[in-house]
Symmetry: none
Subunit: 402 residues, 2 copies
């Protein structure tokens, strides 16, 4: 949601331009500030940003994105599992990549192809189990499960078309890293064979579509080793999100995921349904986290008016929630990073944050936006400070000392 001043908005930010009366009311009832989600000037990923916002230091606990993606699509990760974010891709006869997303193959066909990979006859290390779980479109989660594995290996994905699929190398000199790299290189070959011969790809070639004839592995990762959030503060906590990555981060922290029909992680997400689910979840959870992705999509597309419109839809959602919860309920609004429509990428600018509810001080800030909040009583905080501050306001932090 956070942005920079935009000339076409008279040098206002989308937040400053949007009609967002409900956010402003919360700011007026509480205390505001700005927040360096990770560290000043550092652009956060959505995964590291969420770790920070829930009070975990990503510089200590982050072990790559793959594990969160796998959790997000419903795989139950175990200790020692190595998870990869994989793509179905198109390569030519020499192994050179033509399209990293196989012509954005549809989810139904991608799912059939992914399932076919489960029967791959591997040539070695058959003590290690390979779990293949299709996500949306070209995206697939692949998990290695077994003894003596390591996430310290590179990618087979060269991250650009025109390059050959890479042979994976261990990043450290251990037998575990060597073994894991060896398994991935074997899978890369045997998967290619299965996909090349699969009827779906024969059909696609017949129609002139790009065949999904290779798997690109990237982001080898493990689960972070952390104390689960509910145990840390003695609270039941639920999250509502349409985005697999965010659901995965939340699951890794022990947060219950509430699936909401119509929560799509896109501009078309059903904010009314999210509001209702939030109110419902508050009946049996002390903390509910509600995530809306749409403003980020608009930012990545560089679409100012879409972004303003999405902010106004989020404001309605907040208004709905605020009108139905107890007045004492502590509510906080923030954004997990700044994505200026002009850069179309995450940047390291601080984000606005506001907190209101019982016992929260009132600082006189009138609007929820990047400029007004910077003058608020929270001053500037770090992402990892937000959750302890919220838990303090509901009396769930422990005293240190006597």
């Amino acid at each position: 949601m956070a942005d920079r001043p935009i000339q076409s908005l008279g040098w206002k930010t989308p937040l400053q331009s949007a009609r967002k009366r409900n956010m402003d009311i919360l700011a007026q009832r509480g205390v505001s500030g700005i927040m360096d989600v990770l560290s000043p000037g550092v652009p956060p990923g959505s995964d590291t940003a969420h770790l920070a916002i829930f009070g975990y230091d990503p510089y200590n606990v982050y072990r790559g994105r793959g594990a969160f993606e796998a959790l997000g699509v419903g795989v139950s990760l175990q200790k020692g599992d190595i998870a990869f974010r994989c793509n179905l891709a198109t390569v030519d006869a020499t192994g050179q990549i033509i399209d990293r997303r196989a012509g954005r193959i549809d989810s139904v066909n991608a799912r059939t192809l992914a399932k076919a990979l489960r029967n791959a006859k591997r040539t070695r290390h058959n003590d290690v189990e390979v779990i293949v779980e299709p996500a949306t479109e070209h995206r697939i989660a692949i998990i290695l499960r077994g003894d003596g594995l390591s996430s310290q290996i590179g990618d087979t994905d060269p991250h650009e078309a025109g390059m050959p699929v890479q042979k994976v190398k261990p990043l450290i000199k251990t037998s575990e890293a060597a073994k894991t790299a060896d398994i991935v290189n074997d899978l890369s070959t045997v998967f290619r064979d299965i996909l090349e011969k699969h009827p779906i790809n024969q059909e696609r070639k017949g129609r002139g579509d790009l065949p999904a004839n290779a798997i690109l592995f990237r982001g080898a990762s493990e689960l972070p080793k952390i104390e689960p959030l509910p145990r840390k503060y003695g609270v039941r906590i639920a999250a509502i999100s349409g985005t697999a990555l965010i659901k995965g981060v939340c699951r890794s922290l022990g947060i219950e995921i509430i699936e909401v029909k119509g929560a799509t992680g896109t501009l078309e997400t059903d904010v009314e349904a999210k509001a209702e689910a939030t109110i419902e979840a508050l009946h049996d959870h002390e903390v509910v986290y509600t995530h809306v992705k749409g403003t980020d999509n608009a930012s990545h597309d560089g679409d100012v008016s879409q972004k303003v419109r999405m902010i106004e839809r989020i404001d309605q959602m907040i208004g709905n929630i605020a009108s139905k919860v107890d007045q004492d309920t502590v509510m906080s609004i923030t954004t997990d990073h700044t994505t200026p429509v002009e850069t179309k990428e995450h940047t390291g600018d601080p984000v606005p944050v506001t907190i209101s509810g019982q016992g929260v001080r009132r600082d006189g800030v009138k609007n929820f936006d990047e400029i007004s909040c910077a003058k608020g009583g929270l001053n500037k905080i770090r992402g990892i400070d937000l959750f302890p501050i919220l838990m303090n306001s509901i009396g769930r932090t422990k005293k240190f000392g006597a």
Copy 2:
């Protein structure tokens, strides 16, 4: 002194409601801010808060409360000493606790009983000296002095009535922890015997009062290993406080304690006497710390009007001091934690801080309170930053680099 908005005060805090002209004048002459005493959202104890305010990181140096209590009642602790906060308590014939404070026995009788414990005939480890020092009412400091001891042991105090006195267990597997636990368990038994037979307890029973027939041990602790504050900055520094714990923390940092008659650590404390002692101490000390506990007592009692009245008395004390010291004197006001009258417990909300005097910038803040200070030129600082900032204003910090 710090609090949250209170409905009966029209959503103002006690600091915002109180008449406190002298504090406001200091704010107007200087620079203000808010301070996370330990870390955002973390409720500080009075001991850890004071370590932080004097520039020591409690997360590194804090070793429990017992040592500070012992120093506070005048025991000179040595390196390796293990100090306990103990209670005179009442137990029944089966060892079950009836009252953890022995019916709040008076200080005179408690003192006689404590002294009787000094002659205990222990059954083992007689190489270790046992120091027994009565404090107020049921409180006693007990110190073990000798080679090969450890503070890594539990409590005999179950912290609630209706439970039996516990057998102490070592928290780590070392011979030192085992030996220390063994001594405490021995003392627990032999003390019980002495107390049970003591004439004072026979009299108490005769009158129908609860006998003080057991000692509860808790908070085994050592002195923090630190560089003393006067050496760190090359200053003579004195503290004035009516609270044993605070005097103990100050002594542990090498701060001289000035005993003031009438400084009681309660709502009735003599703030005039404290003001006079502060002015007097400034003749031969570069730094004087003056502590008033009363606002915290009012907060723990949930008494808004007492709290406002106490703030007004503190304001008079500050006015007295300000009128009698050199205009250039650097003065700083802060609170060691927030204790909202509504929660009656320490919380992790930030506290206001103001600094005025020669060379200190003026930020235009007009009032000393939680909301106004948050808009000040100090912005938000951490507790451990305050003392270096004060020492810088009087030219006592050392340059780092060339």
